[in-house]
Symmetry: C5
Subunit: 292 residues, 5 copies
């Protein structure tokens, strides 16, 4: 995730970091050149059939609505994913607090909370494919399970079952927090394994291409010599929004718009270390304005 200030107006147009321009440059160039070619043919060779701008205007309104919907849906996924990780952080802290309230201090408690940290790393590994071998030292056995993060939670359940000093209230309270952690995990898995419906994506992308193909004809008279420039900008706006949407649709990617899973795992490590009276590690810092 990019963490940086808004660029100044001047820098705005030359900032490439976090921009979608590199990815949609082929489309922008194609639309611009097509547009220029159409203008040249129309002016020098043969009159091309023009379309009224209004005709394409309704089309543009529909396209805006489609892209707007997709954008809303993608952003909701991204923000829900962030909420689920926020809940994960809160739940691990609650777990640390609950063990203080309901369990005696001791090695059992430390092992229990460290399994929670391993859970977070294993969950991150599932979502983003990170290699977390170094982060889960001592918990390698969990990776043998099909779903290692679920195995970590199950292992915590087993540890809790073995703690004979825990009374019913403590088991009830702690088991519920484990349940909440599991629901947040299942929510993230849902987002990671269920893309936006393919059919929809097909419709929107085809419409965008068709719109950009027809636009130059509509601009033959209305746009004048600025036509290629206008076509380029329209292509930037519509293909750009589509590219943004594709990024936000996958909140667990390691791209510049992915959620900072590593940094959030570190926040969990810090909370657990402090709860165990151990020296907490440093928070992760953004590298080149990108927080992983």
């Amino acid at each position: 995730m990019i963490i940086r200030d808004q660029p100044t107006p001047l820098a705005l147009f030359f900032t490439m970091q976090g921009s979608v321009v590199p990815r949609i440059l082929p489309q922008i160039i194609a639309v611009t050149m097509l547009s220029a070619a159409i203008i040249l043919v129309d002016r020098l060779i043969v009159d091309l059939p023009g379309i009224s701008l209004s005709a394409i205007g309704v089309f543009g309104v529909a396209l805006s609505l489609f892209l707007g919907f997709r954008n809303n849906a993608a952003y909701s996924r991204w923000w829900e994913a962030r909420k689920l990780w926020g809940a994960l952080i809160g739940d691990v802290r609650t777990l640390a607090r609950h063990t203080v309230i309901f369990l005696p201090d001791g090695p059992d408690r430390a092992q229990f909370l460290k399994t929670a940290v391993a859970f977070a790393h294993l969950h991150r590994s599932f979502l983003r494919g990170d290699d977390v071998a170094n982060d889960i030292a001592g918990f390698d056995a969990l990776t043998r399970a099909r779903n290692p993060a679920d195995a970590a939670l199950r292992d915590m359940g087993r540890q809790l079952a073995r703690m004979t000093e825990a009374d019913g209230f403590g088991r009830l309270a702690i088991a519920r927090v484990l349940g909440d952690l599991g629901m947040s995990q299942a929510g993230c898995e849902r987002i990671a394994t269920t893309p936006l419906p393919f059919v929809y994506s097909l419709l929107v992308r085809r419409t965008t291409y068709l719109y950009c193909l027809f636009l130059p004809f509509a601009l033959l008279d209305a746009g004048g010599l600025l036509t290629p420039l206008i076509a380029a900008i329209v292509a930037y706006v519509f293909f750009g929004l589509q590219a943004v949407t594709n990024e936000l649709e996958h909140p667990f990617s390691d791209g510049s718009n992915g959620l900072p899973l590593s940094a959030m795992c570190r926040v969990i490590e810090i909370s657990v270390a402090e709860a165990l009276n151990e020296a907490p590690p440093e928070p992760l810092q953004a590298q080149d304005a990108v927080l992983m």
Copy 2:
């Protein structure tokens, strides 16, 4: 559900899998031919009364808003259905964990969790009409009930009532998870049995047809010879969105946009098998990019 990468720009227009084009081809062809016929009559036989494009523009804005609403509503149903199944998965895992924490290991526990797996299959059978006889071996008696999935949950309640070794805390915690499973089940049943209001669907479909019937008249002057092509594209956009909406409205269909209920039942089987220290089955794979 289709699981595949975005097609390249070139492949985009020839991909038929997951596309709505086959289903709306009659409408597209009808609109195109009507449009061509109107142009020919107007140019060759008799001047037809034209309509200003602006007149039809407001109409188009209204139609975009209608379709946008229907699309939002349908997608919300689809996504809510996915959320409910995600919650089902999380709840079964919580059930497995709770039985570890609150119940002794043994055959009762295995039977209890296997009933949960049968519940998932029976629920899938209700929603999608799947034949699940092979998946619920040993639980055939449940299918005699009007609502077999509800019967499975009730049976789990009876098993829990018979486990004398479970204390009040355990019964409280496990009964609550059964309640959560029942609420997710009721939520899916709600979506499956309650379509979007019929009156609304009538209004939107009629408006789409009327719009496509009038568009050629509005394009008589503005669209020029490209009129049939424009009409075809507009028909593609509006009928296409309507077809997408009809698919997403029914998230439990077995079409290419239906939710992968079988694959999710398999995820539940894997979680339960691992919780019982049994060999988990393989996850379901997509066949021809379609995950069932």
Copy 3:
């Protein structure tokens, strides 16, 4: 609620069931005739002052947004009402399961669950004015209360208080489900007694009328001889959406878009009968495609 397949394109325009056309026919006819009269006066008698279509276009955008908002709000009410009844069904099933887990089998349990069925019928009677005397045989005393459904829940509380064999855990779990039932009930009462704000409805309706009054003037030049037809269609779209909205705003009406409260009460009866090992009644079927 209408339960039927989408009509074919041909049948689409002649289906009257579930259509709003009968209710808005006076408005459509009035607008069409006004429009025709204006055209005739303009062509035959005296030039009427025209308005540019763009002038009325902005107006149309605003109107679309207003109607879109009202439609969203009305549909949300309708869907929330359905969610609340879905929760009611799930909660009664949970109640049946909880009584198995926490209470001994016996007449007390049957009486308790049958009071829950009576609750559902009394709640339906409050919402839709149904005569439920036959459905609540044995529970007539409850109807003497101001809020009979609330009285049914209170009576269940009293029954639970008298069951000395229920331990604290059981009472806690069951009392909580009663609380959930009460919240769903209060939610339905909220929707039934609180219409959308009157002031808003006044603004939208007035705007629709004004728009349809001015449209013919704007179409004087742009619409040509098709003007009355266009005006009729626009009236159909805008008055139609308004009529749909008015129906969905009241999800507990017994019209063709009201929720099938009777059928849902029957679902509850079936679940309770099965939980008590009694023969369940048949599910309600749609009559002429309408499920009550």
Copy 4:
């Protein structure tokens, strides 16, 4: 809150009750007169610079979106406030039921529930400034606190703490309902003390004024002699929506769109009276179609 049927089409334009027209009449008149003046100057004295309607069209789309957003936000506040009061009603009923389940019958129970009624009145007094001295007879001491409604809940906590016959389960269940009441209370306080952001309101209002100032210039050619009438209607639509929004933004006002807090407090009184086997008071009736 106004409770009345939709007026007939004819009555629609002359209904003043609940209409925003009286409040925005100055603006409508000002815009109409400005418009007429501009037309006169343009026709009789000197050609004024016209603006193309399209130029102002984009502006109109933006304004529609702004007002649409504000309207959504205001309605959400209004509806959330109604939901919170609905939850209050449901929670007081749950409290009544819980005291039956967990507490012995007797004067303690009556006092406890009557404090809940006082809580509702005190909360209403905070939100709407009502004088509730008559409604809280016997609980005047609570009004000495900074937040009397919170003091009522705290007093209920103290009463519960003193009831030695209540076991842990009862205290747990009842304390949780008190917590829910407190959260609903805090939610209403949030809505009452936090208006929509001032900066936003400034932007929208200024834009509306600017739009209405420029509109006459854009209508110089397009609107013809109907210009003042069109300007008046546009002013009605945009200022009207703004006025509606301002009303709904404050759901606890005692205006004609405020929530019927007194009637809802009466519903609570009825529920508590019936739970205590006392004669319930009559429900409040609307006076001149306004329910307080």
Copy 5:
């Protein structure tokens, strides 16, 4: 947060407090001057290529939708932050009530609740960078932790663990409220540390600049001599909405649209003081209409 009445129509255009005009003045001036320069060049020196307004109209619709989305997202963040603080207030009051119900009166209880007040101040300090040294007298040790607010909650957990007179029910109920407080805290941290996606912000800002650069060309013919004025207003609307959005995106800023964290901490102090029968402090008052 600005707390003041709506300005009168006349004052509306001269109110600078809370207005975004000062911040976007450079952009407005730049657009106005560019526009004037283009007009002058076109009229006096050389005919510039014009663009049809419709061409830029679609662009404007897209821009409106983008800004609308960003605005919705930013306002949702702002309102969610307010909700979380409202929940914080409610939870602290519940904590006060719970300690009455479940704990004996005494110094332990006072210390416990005062730690909750310190938690609120430390949380505010994290979010807004406030110096809260004076507000947390006696709790300075907490600031040594990486996350002092989390440390305060953990300390409350330790205090609760030491209270031997608290039974299981009390520990269960109070531990759950601590969990709720921790979730609200994590929610605020989420909003504070996760800006809206950078890529999106880049796209919207670039589009706004491009739109304002091209607008003068489109207004060459349509806008006439009023072109610079129209351009200035459009710049005001679009840059203004962007500036509003930037403010609301950061609900914990100390600007005039930031949430009144200090005032809400004071509300918490008052509730705790009253619960402890101590003299409550005065509520914070707005200074120059700004409540901090």
